[in-house]
């Protein structure tokens, strides 16, 4: 091996949250991640550690993942206090080990929120986000022939704003990084994505009331406009969507004919 190639491998000390199940106590355990190529993703690095653990007859570290290309929203842990790690606009599966240095000590924890129970190690139950979608994160449409693509005129800027909100992959990083474990960025993105477009307007008031009610019931915290969610969101969704949620909810609650 040439020098430049060996330089690419790093050794890390990991402190990983280990918890056998939802109702048992967990703790941080220390592992050595040896000879990690800086071309690997963070998840591939955990794969390597897990291979060693399996060979030693130990329980591998459980973590969520699926696409590993930053689009499905399955992965995510808090790495050194940052949801999805230190890189802006990056999911954990797309975080590369070149952003770490040799001999770094890296602390890996699951999303922390009353609403998200730890299932095992780094895997949390994010079904509360599904419940929020069920509460109103959809439109009702009669099936039939596909409508003409441009039958309803939508200004380009509006379509862009809606698409920016629709970039949300539902990973839950906003809840994890919020100092109050609030889900306002997630709900704000879903509300905005639909409320901005004509197809979403008929149910906008009902949706806002129902999603906020569900959000409160699920035990998420309250937004205090700290903007940590925006900074940690792998899709860089803006907190202007939270302002829109506030607007849509107050408008629906106080001025709509829904929920008298």
């Amino acid at each position: 091996m040439t020098n430049s190639e060996t330089k690419k491998d790093i050794n890390l000390t990991l402190k990983v949250w280990r918890q056998k199940g939802p109702d048992v106590k967990g703790k941080l355990e220390t592992y050595q991640a040896k000879n990690i190529s800086t071309d690997m993703s963070f998840l591939e690095m955990i794969d390597v550690v897990n291979e060693d653990l399996i060979l030693e007859g130990k329980d591998p570290i459980a973590f969520d993942h699926d696409c590993r290309e930053g689009i499905c929203g399955m992965c995510g842990c808090v790495v050194d206090g940052r949801a999805h790690g230190p890189e802006q606009g990056t999911t954990l599966c797309q975080l590369h080990m070149r952003h770490f240095s040799n001999n770094d000590v890296v602390v890996v924890e699951p999303w922390r929120s009353r609403a998200f129970k730890v299932i095992k190690d780094l895997v949390v139950d994010r079904s509360p986000l599904d419940k929020l979608i069920q509460a109103g994160g959809f439109i009702s449409a009669n099936v039939g022939g596909a409508p003409d693509a441009n039958a309803i005129p939508i200004p380009h800027d509006t379509a862009e704003l809606s698409m920016d909100a629709a970039a949300c992959i539902g990973c839950g990083a906003c809840v994890a990084s919020c100092p109050n474990a609030s889900a306002m960025l997630f709900v704000g993105a879903k509300i905005s994505q639909l409320a901005l477009l004509p197809q979403g307007k008929p149910e906008a008031a009902k949706r806002a009331i129902s999603m906020v009610k569900t959000m409160d019931e699920l035990g998420f915290g309250n937004c205090t406009n700290e903007a940590e969610c925006e900074a940690d969101c792998p899709k860089e969704i803006s907190i202007t969507n939270i302002a829109r949620l506030n607007r849509e909810f107050l408008k629906a609650g106080l001025f709509s004919t829904v929920a008298k």
Binding site: D80, P179, N222, E230
Partner: protein, 213 residues
């Protein structure tokens, strides 16, 4: 009327109370500061300003009751939200790092709030709920600031006022949903400007008074 209760009692409804009462306080602080600036014009100007205020009839007691109500709402709602937010994360992180959104002002809101609460009680007991017979308000103020400790307390607390307002003012607009590409940058700048005006404006008064004694 269920709709009204459900809306106002929701998480966003509680934030609406915080925002509206907080903005009212910003309005109050503005008038309070303008009035207090008469101190720079000397004893007689300040005393006649105070007399003028008290001669306005029922407006002042009504405004005082209003402020008290807003104060109770702001403090109780703030503490409720603080408690709920604390409960929303039963297991804390071992490592906490700022992702770039938080500011000193934003993460100290509940703490600067509690300091302001204690200060407002102290301030009212010192200058409002006292026997004012045979003395003038100017004398009470200059007596107060003849003590170095009072000057120090007022100056330090005004830093906290500035911090609270620098996040609070902007945050209130965001809570109300009053966010717009054209106006939000201006509101954020105004937030900073207002906090500096309150901090420096109120903070210099005790220093000035103690310097001319």
């Amino acid at each position: 009327m269920n709709w009204l209760f459900n809306t106002l009692w929701s998480s966003i409804g509680k934030k609406l109370f915080m925002a509206l009462t907080g903005l009212c306080f910003c309005g109050f602080l503005t008038t309070h500061l303008i009035g207090n600036l008469t101190l720079y014009a000397g004893k007689d100007a300040f005393n006649s300003y105070a007399e003028h205020l008290h001669s306005l009839g029922p407006i002042i007691p009504i405004a005082e009751m209003g402020l008290l109500l807003l104060f109770v709402i702001h403090v109780l709602t703030g503490l409720t939200l603080f408690y709920k937010n604390f409960r929303a994360r039963p297991t804390r992180y071992a490592v906490n790092k700022n992702a770039g959104g938080r500011t000193i002002a934003s993460f100290t809101m509940p703490y600067t709030g509690v300091i302001l609460f204690s200060f407002i009680l102290f301030h009212l007991l010192q200058l409002h709920f006292i026997d004012k017979t045979g003395t003038t308000i100017y004398e009470i103020v200059s007596d107060t600031f003849s003590q170095k400790s009072n000057v120090a307390i007022y100056c330090i607390v005004m830093i906290f006022v500035g911090l609270h307002v620098s996040h609070g003012f902007w945050s209130a607009f965001q809570t109300l949903g009053a966010d717009h590409v054209k106006y939000t940058p201006f509101i954020k700048k105004l937030s900073l400007l207002l906090s500096i005006i309150f901090g420096v404006g109120f903070g210099l008064i005790p220093i000035y008074i103690s310097s001319i004694l």
